[in-house]
Amino acid sequence: MNEHLLDIRNLKSWYRTYQGYAQVVDGVNLTIDAGKKIGIVGESGCGKTTTMKSVLRVLDERKAYLPEGEILFKNQNILKMRETELQQIRRKNISMISQEPSAALNPVFTVGQQIFDVISYSTQDDTAKNKKELTDIAIKAIRDVFIPDPERILECYPHQLSGGMKQRICIAMALVIPRELLIADEPGTALDVTIQDQIHRLLRALVDEKQTALIMITHSLGVVRELVDQIYVMYAGNIVEVATTNELFKNPLHPYTRGLMDCVPRLSGGGISAGIYGYVPDYVHPTPGCRFSPRCPYVKEICRVQKPLMLEIDEGHTVACFRYTDSFTEQHRQEESIGERA
């Protein structure tokens, strides 16, 4: 078996609440190879960010609880690492762009101070950097994200910059010392559509240039279609469908994936799309069955009591849904034929 860059196995990330554990991430499996680009798609609150924050172990320690699972980075389990090893991974191997550029930068330090710290800690083993070298590296990174007058930007405080500029700074910070893996957590969400588009193009260009692997988290299928090679569809803490981008758009299998696709508004009109009825479930008392079952239009008895496993339908296309198991198809056919006779 070849070595994956990142291999998440059966990861569970829960949060402590007064009512009990909120089982937000419930057994996620995900792999990415060096230099590849994947997308994780799902609606808000379905555990995408929690999964990725588990990778860097930056979840709030007071609340987070990881009962099971492994996160292997080059075959080393991040969850079992000591603080010093973890620091090395954070400094050298993985970086993450937050979905909230305004919240991600510290309001009382200048952009320069913050970037300098990232640079000097990411490179401290190699060579000690003086102020001049730091500035040169930072200026180059800011120029890479197409912000004019980088020297002035370094002196600015975050509140003096626009949302788009802040997000560019965050991207610059994430790529200033190139890493093997970049996790971009909905980098366009807090921005308006035109800026969003620019940010995505920029991100793709930079990732290609630096040959970094990318995990792109988003709730919009339209965004990932442009950016990534493979898509993981996530619902309520479970991966429900995995396929290459083309395959997924050609042949979406899981009812949730189809629902998501219907949600993308078309410029040709047709009014507001039907969307998916209901909302993300209660994580403290989750259903024992498929977590999508309360909202699924094709729900059957088995869906409510048993968890569907991942089925390989086609090469590289897997789905977790009872609709594609043999027994279900059999039962479904019978019901349909009964319906026809009546």
């Binding site: 930056v58 973890l86 954070r90 309001p107 710290d117």
Partner: protein, 317 residues
């Protein structure tokens, strides 16, 4: 304002100064001398003219010019308050950081319990307690006055004994003065110290959940850098304003502590003046306290502005 408050306190200062058995003509004579026979506005004009020339009048209590008294007593209080302030700042930041770093653990609860006690205990009660413990039970630190008898006063430069003895190289006096300072300064600082520690802890814990902290952690910055730089600075802003108020209030709160530790300070002097209806002294002390309160608040505003760029730039534009 302060002047009027001092004047409308009941009682005849001239009579109190001379005692109950003084003849009436002597009292009337003194009243004339102090301009107390004139109307209030005229009295004020006399007083204001004096103050502008650096003359606060004469104290009927000490029978000396008030300005001489202030020169003698003010440095003692200033020294006490300065040390108290240093205790306040250092200890509250340390305790706040400690409680926040180990929040919801034994350390946090220990600091919390200690804080409730510290806040609840009035400064004078603590002062008496310290006096008892260190003056009677253990006798390790001197408890009364600014210097032990037999230790020479340092050359008068600023009037702060520790400072003066240090720059003149008189280390015996320096350590003696320092030892005398510890207990009163601690007694004075305790209440506000714990309040600030609680405030800082709350602010730190609140900011710990902020995205910028998890981002900084995600870039592998060491936790002590995050704690003392990325977390402390934004969290310190709300604490500084309250701390400024408390530091300014130390001056006024000092009188009971000064009384208990027999500290020859301005707070004690002002209190005596108030009880004896020593008008000129009262007005002068009030004026000084007011000026210091203002000064401290201006300094606090400058510090807040230097910590928080949002305020700084807002003011300029």
């Amino acid at each position: 304002m302060l002047f009027i408050i001092a004047r409308i306190i009941p009682g005849d200062p001239a009579r109190m100064s001379l005692g109950p058995r003084a003849p009436q003509f002597a009292v009337d004579e003194l009243r004339r001398e102090m301009h107390l026979d004139k109307s209030l506005p005229v009295q004020y004009l006399y007083w204001a003219r004096g103050v502008l020339q650096g003359d606060f009048g004469k104290s009927i209590n000490t029978k000396r010019p008030v300005s001489t008294d202030i020169k003698e007593f003010f440095p003692a209080t200033l020294e006490l308050v300065l040390f108290s302030g240093i205790f306040l700042i250092i200890l509250s930041v340390l305790l706040g950081l400690l409680a926040a770093k180990y929040h919801d653990s034994l350390v946090d609860n220990l600091v919390r319990g200690l804080s409730y006690i510290g806040i609840a205990i009035p400064a004078f009660a603590l002062a008496i307690l310290l006096l008892l413990l260190f003056g009677y039970v253990w006798q390790v630190i001197p408890v009364l006055g600014r210097l032990s008898s037999g230790v020479d006063e340092p050359l008068h430069i600023t009037g702060l004994f520790t400072f003066d003895s240090l720059i003149t190289g008189n280390f015996t006096t320096f350590f003696n003065a320092l030892a005398h300072l510890i207990l009163p300064a601690l007694a004075l600082a305790t209440g506000p110290l714990f309040q600030e520690a609680r405030l800082l802890r709350a602010s730190l814990v609140d900011n710990m959940g902020k995205e910028y902290i998890s981002v900084a952690t995600g870039y592998g910055l060491p936790s002590h850098v995050i704690m003392t730089k990325y977390l402390l600075r934004p969290s310190f802003i709300p604490v500084v304003s309250v701390m400024g108020m408390d530091l300014a209030a130390l001056m006024g709160n000092a009188f009971l502590v000064e009384k208990i530790f027999n500290w020859p300070g301005i707070s004690r002097y002002g209190m005596n003046a108030l009880l004896n209806k020593d008008l000129n002294a009262i007005s002068a002390v009030f004026l000084i306290f007011g000026a210091i309160f203002l000064l401290v608040n201006i300094i606090v505003d400058i510090i807040v502005a230097s910590l928080d760029p949002r305020i700084r730039l807002g003011a300029r534009s």
